[in-house]
């Protein structure tokens, strides 16, 4: 049931306290937090730096504006309503499609316009924001997600978390939503985390609720064959977020769009530690290596460095059907 601190140290596991003091406290300037804590700001900044993000449908900034929600949503099939300053996936409402005036969640639950308006109103009054300060509701288009990955997820869109340290992608995992996580891709809500090899973008191992898994709990599809297309582009996109925000220890959440390829969904200045579980490896050694690297290296060189040094072999048993997902082109 318990392990010893010594064993964790040998594995290079980083604890909450160390993350907070040694990495977030040291490399993330508090002045820069608003850039990532406000998803609207992140989005606008990303557009400036040429980093692709999901299309913005609109924003609601006043309680009065809630009444215009119906008009704003008109004609859109699927969309996501999220608080600009939310944290930990709180307050994110995913509507997969609209059916006879009812808004259908990925789980199949149907909501009325009233429910949506209440949700937006709650967002505006700061229910989901850090510190309860008044907030803005951001509505963006639902991603047309890459069907090659559909076997690995249940409802919602799987996203890829890459930890970027001083601009180097150090560790990555894919988060697959499950029935337990209500279509959301947050590990503590029950999503499956799959550690990804930085060199190739293939699965290393999977965990759900901090316990090892070899298949998806809902679709039953084994995880060994998971391979992310456009992997290098995705890493470049993630690495570029360092120049964009200036934050040294950053969690980037990416999604794969069928047509547009990798996209930046949101950034996190306090990324969680579950990625170590998904990779079966601590962050410590990789972060130590990066700390010894000089400043001012271009993103391409940083990605190449990471791909060279952080290569791993899969721990999952590869079954008969190898690599159902292939690189396009």
């Amino acid at each position: 049931m318990w392990t010893s601190p010594g064993k964790l140290r040998d594995k290079g596991i980083i604890g909450m306290n160390r993350r907070n003091i040694r990495y977030i406290g040291r490399y993330n300037n508090r002045r820069l937090y608003p850039l990532v804590d406000d998803k609207l700001k992140t989005k606008l900044l990303a557009q400036e730096y040429g980093i692709t993000t999901p299309a913005l449908i609109g924003t609601v900034t006043t309680q009065f504006g809630v009444k215009q929600l119906d008009a704003m949503l008109h004609g859109h099939r699927g969309f996501v309503i999220k608080p600009a300053k939310g944290s930990g996936g709180k307050g994110i409402l995913v509507i997969e499609h609209v059916e006879d005036g009812a808004y259908v969640k990925p789980s199949g639950a149907r909501l009325g316009l009233g429910d949506l308006e209440r949700h937006v109103s709650n967002i505006l009054s700061g229910l989901y924001s850090l510190g309860g300060s008044p907030d803005v509701a951001v509505i963006e288009a639902l991603i047309n997600f890459d069907e090659r990955l559909s076997e690995y997820t249940y409802e919602g869109v799987p996203d890829i978390r890459v930890i970027v340290f001083k601009g180097y992608p150090v560790m990555a995992m894919m988060r697959l939503s499950t029935a337990a996580s209500d279509g959301k891709a947050n590990l503590h809500q029950g999503a499956v985390g799959v550690g990804l090899d930085i060199a190739t973008g293939t699965a290393i191992r999977g965990v759900q609720f901090d316990r090892t898994r070899h298949d998806h709990p809902d679709t039953g599809h084994e995880l060994a064959s998971l391979h992310i297309p456009d992997w290098r582009t995705l890493l470049l996109l993630a690495a570029g977020c360092y120049e964009m925000t200036g934050l040294g220890y950053l969690g980037t959440d990416m999604v794969l769009d069928r047509d547009l390829g990798p996209m930046l969904l949101e950034l996190n200045a306090r990324p969680g530690l579950a990625i170590q579980m998904a990779n079966g490896e601590g962050l410590r050694n990789r972060l130590d290596l990066i700390e010894r690297q000089p400043e001012g290296v271009a993103p391409e060189a940083r990605v190449a460095f990471a791909q060279q040094h952080f290569a791993r072999r899969s721990e999952l048993e590869t079954s008969a059907e190898v690599a159902t997902v292939t690189e396009p082109g």
């Binding site: 049931m1 318990w2 392990t3 010893s4 601190p5 064993k7 964790l8 040998d10 594995k11 596991i13 604890g15 909450m16 306290n17 160390r18 003091i21 040694r22 040291r26 309680q63 709180k90 307050g91 009233g114 308006e117 209440r118 109103s121 709650n122 009054s125 700061g126 229910l127 309860g132 503590h188 809500q189 965990v207 901090d210 316990r211 090892t212 170590q276 579980m277 079966g280 490896e281 601590g282 721990e315």
Partner: protein
């Protein structure tokens, strides 16, 4: 990036905190534990005199802090008289004055004295040597011979004084001594002779403390100086040393009582002793107005009671810091458990737990209904606040009707904090399900109970209230904890699967 200034600060806080606490323990006799008993003497001086119809001025010596005793409180009862306390050269005196008084008058002075065997004696300056001593014939030769005789048999001031007093004792009384005693009183005579021989000395007045004695008078002692040191001598026997139960009432060689405008004046003493808890004895201590003795005890009683609670909050906060940083327990609202623990102190633990669970449970049900009304957040939380107040009122009335007086203490809960707790738990329930509510609610409650146990501990209460230096130590501890980069206890379980391959 150097951490040196940080550790210097922590070290400074620790040294200052421990130093202040030890100073209070050593210098002011504040005990480390609340249970210790201390002996306290209550001494009452009664001044009697007949006023002659004109203005009256009564001037009486008062005791001060001295070896073995520390002054706690003093009171006077003197209807119609003006009163002022004077202090000059280390001697304290009380002056009563009245414009017109006739007949028998009584003035009372009561003081409480803490028996403090370890207290250091205050600095005593030797009186100046009197050079103006003249004797009439034939006393001059008698005095010279007595001094000569004692001098030859002594080695220093103290032995000289002892030999001199013995020569006036009954057994060895010679002709010279008898001659001198016909003219002078024993005490002043001894001081005269000692001064003439170049030994500074004076007559002081002391009270021998014996439990339950009434109508006692002061006894005279001869205080003899030898450089820095001094010693007391019994003028009758020549015995050297100060009895443990001797309270020096007047020790600067002045008169104990001076009355102008009155006759037949005398002062008598009654005394009582009792034991009381050390903490109470400390509380009665007269606040000395120095920065080092800075203490909450100099505030009025009501504010003291308030501070007793306020000074406990850092303890509760320390518990929260430990549980979050070292253990990794999740709570709903960082310091909410401390406020709940403060409420538990008022309600007692079981009543508090039942009350808390009742309020939160009923609040959650009502909040669930409110969520259907589609209200703005602030309005909704306000509605929850009113609901919480209604629940508290209802429970108070119900428990009172059923004869459960403990239920009335439910009003001590911080209502706004409870409302926010309900709101947060409700959101948590909607978003992450009842399991998270149980984890965070349970974590908060566990933290609150541990914080309560820590804050309600009699020893902790005693220490935080009596030693302000402890706050600095707590500050240093919290700074150190804020620097801890190791694993949390619960992480040892969380990350266990990683270490299993």
């Amino acid at each position: 990036m150097s951490r040196l200034p940080f550790y210097l600060l922590v070290g400074l806080l620790l040294v200052a905190g421990i130093g202040l606490s030890v100073h209070r323990h050593v210098a002011l006799e504040v005990p480390w534990t609340p249970g210790e008993q201390r002996q306290v003497w209550e001494v009452e001086a009664l001044v009697n005199f007949n006023a002659q119809g004109g203005p009256v001025l009564v001037d009486m010596a008062l005791p001060s802090n001295q070896q073995g005793f520390r002054l706690l409180t003093e009171h006077t009862a003197s209807p119609g008289f003006g009163l002022s306390f004077l202090e000059e050269g280390g001697a304290r005196r009380a002056q009563w004055s009245i414009r017109e008084a006739t007949g028998s008058q009584q003035l009372y002075y009561t003081t409480q004295l803490l028996v403090a065997p370890d207290s250091r004696p205050p600095e005593v300056t030797p009186p100046p040597l009197r050079r103006d001593i003249v004797w009439e014939r034939p006393h001059d030769t008698a005095a010279a011979q007595v001094i000569e005789r004692a001098w030859s048999r002594s080695a220093d001031s103290f032995t000289f004084a002892r030999e001199l007093i013995r020569d006036f004792g009954d057994e060895r009384q010679g002709e010279n001594s008898r001659l001198l005693l016909t003219q002078f009183e024993r005490g002043p005579l001894l001081v005269r002779l000692l001064n003439q021989a170049g030994v500074p000395a004076r007559e002081v007045s002391g009270l021998l403390l014996e439990d339950g004695r009434r109508r006692q008078t002061l006894a005279n002692w001869v205080q003899v100086f030898d450089g820095e040191r001094w010693a007391l001598f019994d003028p009758a026997t020549g015995e050297q040393g100060r009895p443990d139960n001797l309270l020096l009432w007047e020790s600067s060689g002045q008169a104990v009582l001076e009355v102008q405008g009155g006759t037949n004046s005398r002062v008598t003493f009654s005394m009582l002793t009792h034991n009381q808890p050390a903490a109470a004895a400390v509380r009665n201590q007269l606040a000395e107005d120095t920065l080092l003795n800075f203490s909450i005890h100099s505030l009025p009683l009501e504010e003291q009671a308030l501070f007793q609670t306020i000074l406990l909050i850092p303890i509760g906060a320390l518990v929260v810091v430990i549980l979050r940083v070292l253990v990794g327990i999740k709570t709903s609202g960082t310091f909410m458990p401390v406020l709940i623990a403060l409420a538990f102190i008022q309600t007692t633990l079981i009543t508090g737990l039942v009350g808390f669970l009742l309020i939160v449970a009923v609040g959650l049900v009502i909040r669930n209904y409110l969520s259907y009304l589609n209200l703005l957040l602030v309005a909704r939380v306000t509605a929850v606040i009113i609901t919480v107040i209604a629940i508290i009122s209802l429970f108070s009335v119900l428990s009172y009707r059923f004869g459960l007086n403990a239920g009335l203490t439910i009003t001590f809960f911080p209502m706004i904090i409870l409302s926010w707790t309900i709101e947060r738990m409700s959101i948590l329930w909607e978003e992450e399900g009842p399991k998270q509510v149980l984890i965070q609610g349970g974590g908060s409650l566990l933290t609150a109970v541990i914080a309560y146990l820590a804050m309600n501990n009699p020893w902790v209460r005693h220490i935080t209230f009596n030693f302000l230096g402890v706050q600095m130590i707590l500050m240093a501890l919290i700074l150190l904890l804020g620097n801890y980069t190791g694993y949390r206890l619960l992480e040892l379980r969380r990350f266990k699967p990683v270490t299993e391959d």
